[in-house]
């Protein structure tokens, strides 16, 4: 990690957001396993640095697309956990009025397209967002988050190629967590790094330690700068690891024990905490204080969501067409 070229506030904000994602996911997992929360969930414990590092390089009016595993992206881009928790409980005060749920979490007003839960489905949508910016000569960028699996969808090829030939302000971010559901990446890729595929589109491709928020931030910052200057898209591969199951009660038996132990030792929050204390950026109880504040925010969100009324059943018939 780089030496102190960042402000304390910037570093602690990164840390706070990563902890907020982790604690949110852990609380949601508990609520779900208790049977209190409906639906299904895909969680991102262990992948917090990718979302937070990338979104730290964005402005408020930049736009992201997300995936079936969207909670981290939404928090990192600024969706309040209060609205997210309510959405997970299917409440009208949720960010999608209870019509989206976990897999379609988002709020375009905050630059988050309702999450696209079809693998690879967000890739052309992000290109179109970039196209709108380019047509209107706005200096905004679109970020398309996706998993490693998305790079094997046909539409990925179509979308990245279009973004490339039109120099669209888009950053394609592959969070390589080493498994497409249960299938290890080695079984489905011949290339060593997925970012090598960037060569096929004539754009820069970069593989980065996705568990280091500062490395992610630096890579994203350069890609965003390039996009804002009208020089076109970048393919960023962020290597990370999912330290929870694919969804719901998946015990992830396909992840080898040694690999899991290594991943836990390398998980981003512990690592970043070590960096912050090791570099003398935090001297006192700042990190514990952050954890307490985050937990309190999440508890308030849970309470607020559970106390808020359900939608009327017939609200299901609303919100399809404008006219």
């Amino acid at each position: 990690m780089k030496k102190k070229t960042y402000s304390e506030k910037f570093l602690l904000d990164l840390y706070r957001k990563m902890v907020l994602i982790r604690q949110f996911e852990e609380r949601v997992k508990f609520l779900f396993l208790e049977g209190i929360m409906p639906g299904t969930i895909h969680q991102c414990q262990g992948q917090e640095a990718t979302a937070v590092g990338v979104c730290a390089a964005l402005k408020e009016d930049d736009v992201i697309t997300s995936t079936h595993r969207p909670h981290g992206h939404c928090i990192a881009k600024g969706l309040p956990v209060r609205e997210m928790m309510a959405e997970l409980f299917g409440k009208t005060i949720g960010c999608c009025k209870g019509k989206g749920g976990s897999m379609h979490m988002g709020d375009l007003a905050r630059g988050i397209v309702p999450a696209v839960a079809i693998v690879g489905g967000g890739t052309p949508i992000a290109a179109g967002i970039g196209l709108a910016f380019k047509l209107r000569k706005e200096k905004r960028v679109a970020v398309c988050f996706m998993g490693d699996g998305a790079a094997n969808e046909g539409v990925f090829h179509e979308a990245v190629n279009m973004a490339s030939i039109w120099d669209l302000p888009v950053i394609y971010v592959i969070e390589n967590n080493r498994y497409g559901a249960s299938t290890p990446v080695e079984k489905v890729f011949r290339v060593k790094n997925i970012s090598e595929r960037a060569a096929a589109y004539g754009i820069p491709g970069l593989t980065v330690d996705g568990n280091d928020p500062l490395a992610v931030y630096e890579a994203a910052r350069q890609a965003v700068e390039r996009a804002r200057e009208g020089k076109g898209p970048t393919l960023l591969e962020l290597n990370t690891y999912r330290i929870t199951g694919h969804s719901r009660r998946d015990p992830a038996l396909y992840q080898p024990e040694q690999e899991k132990r290594d991943a836990k030792a390398n998980e981003p929050i512990k690592r970043f905490a070590g960096y912050l204390t090791g570099e003398g950026i935090v001297m006192g109880t700042e990190l514990e204080d952050i954890l307490k504040e985050v937990d309190a925010e999440i508890e308030a969100a849970v309470e607020n969501a559970m106390l808020s009324p359900d939608p009327k059943p017939e609200d299901a018939l609303e919100d399809m067409f404008v006219e």
Partner: protein, 338 residues
Amino acid sequence: MKRMTIAEALREGIRQEMRRDERVFCIGEDIAIPGGWGGAFTVTLGLEEEFADRMINTPISEAGLFGAALGAAMMGMRPIADVQYGDFLFCAMDQVANQIAKMRYMSGGKLTVPLLMRAPVGVTGRGAQHAQSMEAFFMPLPGIKIIAPSNAYDALGMLRSAIRCDDPVLMFEHKLLYGSKGARTESGAVDASGDIPDEDYTVPIGKAAILREGGDVTIVSHLLMLHHALRAATKLAEEGIEAEVIDARSLVPFDWETLKASVAKTGRVIFVEECSKHAGVYAEIAATLAEEMMELLSAPIKRIAAPNTPAPFAPVMEKFYIPQIDDIVSGVKELVEY
């Protein structure tokens, strides 16, 4: 007032809308190459000269271009996305069915998708994969409005309504009705041209049109088959049978009021379409009619449609496959004699 074919009317409509509103742009394959075709059926011919930046000529990437249209629409643009042949919509199906149709609903109504999709349909001597009438595939898909104009006046009026609409609209156009000229002329084309007023008129989405009045039987159809129905009605009149001919033209939402009023008058209804009969457009319309308006009927509902096979190539088989004017005439006679 000017006489125009459907291709000309659509081209003029797109041109005017792009002049009127900077958010409108076209995205599609082979739509903006100087010396090219202006799309497979000449609709966008030459528009790139006036709108160099807003005629987005894409790679052969249907999923990509429909997804890109959605992304731009969500950001406040008003894209017109088209495929060369309706059959290619299947290549874009995730974007159309999972993303475009559902995005506003999933957001809780917080965003809008002002997006017009255009697709040519119809059997035209090209075998099975450039032939399908795609309408019925999209009707069970809540979140998309579906229109199918059969003449130049409606084509321009409905195009304007669709571009100005804040919801996704899918417009089906028939290859034999375009009136495409030059190298893109279609053999077997039917004249669907019309007098186009100079003023900025619109034709609303959701309203059918009664093109011929009659008290004996109601014929409901759209696109090419509507023209067959009108010809059949002329023949029937010579034998003293007065058919009322309704151009459905808006399939979603469907104009139940007009259908109901007509059937209340005639008591007999026959639906004609180029889709396969099995789960075709009018399978749904007929089922609802039977479910909710049975008391209006004095004879069984009749449907005339293509058989449940892919479209064949050989001209003799193709003619057998497509419903013919005489099929409609004899279908109506069966009903009247019931």
